[in-house]
């Protein structure tokens, strides 16, 4: 399909008109030039509601080409309704190939997870972002947070982390855990679990973040330093499980809890459906003697 050629749906390739795509790409270039910096952009009203991934969709629509292969996941799975919906949207408006295999994708649009399979140079991962401002809950005023970023005044977030340790003994943020990008910008990595934060650091892929409702775009170029905030004596830690995936036996992936009966029975399975599937296809299995779930479900850190 040529650009600006109304396809069968009557819309341009990937829905957005070329002017809009250019506007978004200019914003993306600025974002890549200043890793972690939130670039305001003229977010359009899309056929999906704000809050449902319009930012991610606009970013993907601006960078996708007819030879791209798109993977869309939500909560790590290709089959959740929202991921299905967005994949269908691009299949209809761009006619591009789609895949569920992380290794086959050139563009991965994601909500709330980074795939377990390490990404490669040349891949683009697009994050759906509900709230781009990491300090928003501490400071509601945009005019003020903008100044704080410009002047590198990040005392406020450190106060919040200090307070967490004071109240809970450890930092109480478990997702959308704030990071320092390139030793300069404080960034919200989107509501990925903190388990996924280490994957941000020096990732070979290009990482793009789109917040449609809040109208901000930001980016982390490949191989950029990304460090989760912590204190020297309270270092950042990821979640751990006592168990492995009940299907493929993986011990290194983020596990979803599935309730199996009304007596507290539960099991844990890989959140990343593709990762689990690949392991199963390679003959990996969970050991037969899995400890019972309820009691052993949480391991205390350290």
């Amino acid at each position: 399909m040529k650009p600006d050629d109304p396809g069968p749906t009557g819309y341009n390739f990937a829905y957005l008109d070329e002017q809009t795509k250019r506007m978004i790409r200019r914003a993306l270039l600025k974002a890549v030039a200043i890793p972690g910096y939130q670039v305001p952009f003229g977010s359009r009203e899309m056929p999906l509601p704000f809050g449902w991934g319009t930012g991610g969709i606009q970013v993907t629509a601006a960078v996708i080409g007819k030879n791209d292969v798109l993977k869309v996941i939500d909560q790590g799975s290709d089959d959740t309704t929202n991921a299905v919906n967005i994949r269908r949207f691009f299949a209809r408006t761009a006619g591009i190939a789609t895949t569920e295999r992380t290794t086959d994708a050139t563009i991965i649009q994601t909500r709330h997870r980074i795939p377990e399979t390490p990404l490669a140079a040349g891949q683009i991962i697009v994050f759906q972002v509900p709230e781009p401002e990491p300090m928003r809950r501490l400071e509601a005023r945009e005019a003020e947070t903008r100044k704080m970023h410009a002047l590198e005044e990040y005392g406020l977030i450190r106060v919040k982390l200090y307070e967490d340790i004071t109240r809970h003994g450890h930092i109480a943020t478990t997702y959308d855990y704030p990071v320092m990008v390139n030793d300069r910008m404080l960034m919200a990595p989107s509501p990925i679990p903190k388990f996924d934060n280490p994957k941000l650091d020096r990732n070979p892929a290009l990482m793009l973040f789109g917040a449609g409702r809040e109208k901000r775009i930001y980016a982390v170029p490949p191989y950029t330093k990304v460090r989760s905030l912590d204190f020297d004596d309270h270092p950042f830690e990821i979640q751990k499980w006592n168990q492995c995936c009940a299907q493929c036996g993986a011990t290194d992936s983020f596990l979803d809890e599935v309730i199996t009966d009304d007596r507290g029975g539960r099991m844990f399975v890989c959140s990343d459906s593709d990762y689990c599937r690949q392991r199963l296809a390679a003959g990996q299995r969970a050991p037969a003697d899995q400890p019972d779930s309820a009691a052993a479900s949480v391991q205390a850190a350290t």
Partner: protein, 362 residues
């Protein structure tokens, strides 16, 4: 053995079918036509056009039909459609002084040039359900010809009258008359100049603005408003094509305009004058135009040297939350799966609870 549930796509397709059934309702009942909606649900159409930022009664009626009367959903449909429309040119600003008036009232003067025209309003009806409408056989008596057809009367705007005496602050464009920024093309940033604020308010949710406007009347920063004037009628839309170099009329639209006259302000160098609030909507959305005017004035608090203490005076608060398409999207996005993040929280809470006996012991 546990098998992950698949079939999201099938579920979605089935949901479309169920929705189509619900939308159509009982097939033995005649289907609504767009003409019926335009004619008999005009105020719904007007609201959708106003908050959808698109003047097209036919499309708005279609949106209302497709959304089964859910106006916020209809507004969303119209906005999404608007995104795809090419822009041909900019019109001249409409001149409400040249409006063909169908309704014109002022609370500030008992009588004034052009008179008070009540027009089609619910204001003086008694809110008694009219069961003759239920029977579907209501007969509307035509308005007598003498009063129905009026010669255009000179009806200068009240604020212009006050302006002659220098009693009200002049409404002058900024020096250089800069082109206003387009809120549908650029993100809102703060501080937001008045032109941008007015755009935001024009597109803003009527209910939200009504509540905000109401709060100013109840003491959350009072601006002592008087309704200077409300006008309803048709105005010409004109463009100046490059090849011609002069203005031509390409059509007309119906608008409702409200000008509030507010608390006078003065300073050591300036004598006291009344200040203004402005509201404008497509069609006949009077409540919205009035609420908008109240909030517009309230948001000018800082500029007029007033103490900012109430939410209706805070641009960041009002303008960030006025858009019902944004608000609806974000509120309802909570329906999307959040179980991965919830998993993280579960783990934390379990861990904290497990430690509590230790704390108590030490």
């Amino acid at each position: 053995m546990y098998v992950a549930v698949k079939g999201g796509e099938t579920a979605i397709l089935n949901s479309y079918r169920l929705l189509a059934e619900e939308r159509r309702g009982d097939c033995s009942i005649p289907e609504l036509t767009l003409t019926q909606i335009r004619q008999q649900m005009g105020l719904a159409v007007d609201r959708v056009m106003t908050e959808g930022s698109l003047y097209d009664p036919e499309l708005a009626a279609l949106a209302v039909k497709q959304a089964r009367g859910d106006l916020i959903e209809a507004i969303f449909l119209l906005r999404a459609y608007r995104t795809t429309l090419p822009r041909l040119c900019y019109s001249l600003p409409i001149d409400t002084a040249r409006m063909t008036l169908r309704r014109r009232i002022s609370a500030t003067f008992k009588d004034l040039p052009g008179g008070q025209i009540l027009g089609p309003t619910y204001d003086y009806t008694q809110r008694l359900l009219d069961f003759s409408l239920a029977a579907g056989s209501s007969v509307v008596e035509p308005v007598p010809a003498a009063t129905a057809k009026q010669e255009p009367v000179a009806a200068p705007r009240v604020v212009d009258l006050l302006n002659h005496e220098g009693l009200i602050e002049p409404e002058a464009p900024e020096s250089g008359d800069p082109v206003p920024r387009d809120l549908t093309r650029e993100p809102l940033t703060f501080p937001a100049e008045r032109a941008l604020r007015l755009q935001n308010l024009a597109r803003g949710d009527e209910g939200f603005l009504l509540g905000m406007g109401y709060s100013t009347q109840r003491g959350y920063s009072h601006t002592h408003p008087f309704t200077g004037e409300i006008r309803l009628g048709e105005v010409a839309v004109e463009i100046v094509p490059e090849e011609l170099g002069f203005a031509i009329e390409i059509g007309e639209i119906t608008v409702t305009e409200c000008q509030m006259v507010n608390q006078f302000a003065g300073s050591k160098t300036e004598p006291p004058r009344f200040t203004r609030g402005y509201g404008l909507t497509f069609g006949h959305c009077e409540r919205k135009a009035m609420a908008m005017a109240l909030v517009d004035r309230s948001l000018r608090a800082a500029e007029l040297g007033e103490t900012v203490s109430a939410p209706a005076q805070m641009p960041e608060f009002v303008l960030s939350h006025s858009d019902n398409v944004e608000a609806s999207g974000f509120v309802q996005h909570l329906k999307l799966p959040h179980y991965v993040d919830f998993q993280s929280e579960l783990e934390l809470v379990r861990k904290m609870r497990a430690r509590t006996p230790e704390h108590k012991a030490s």
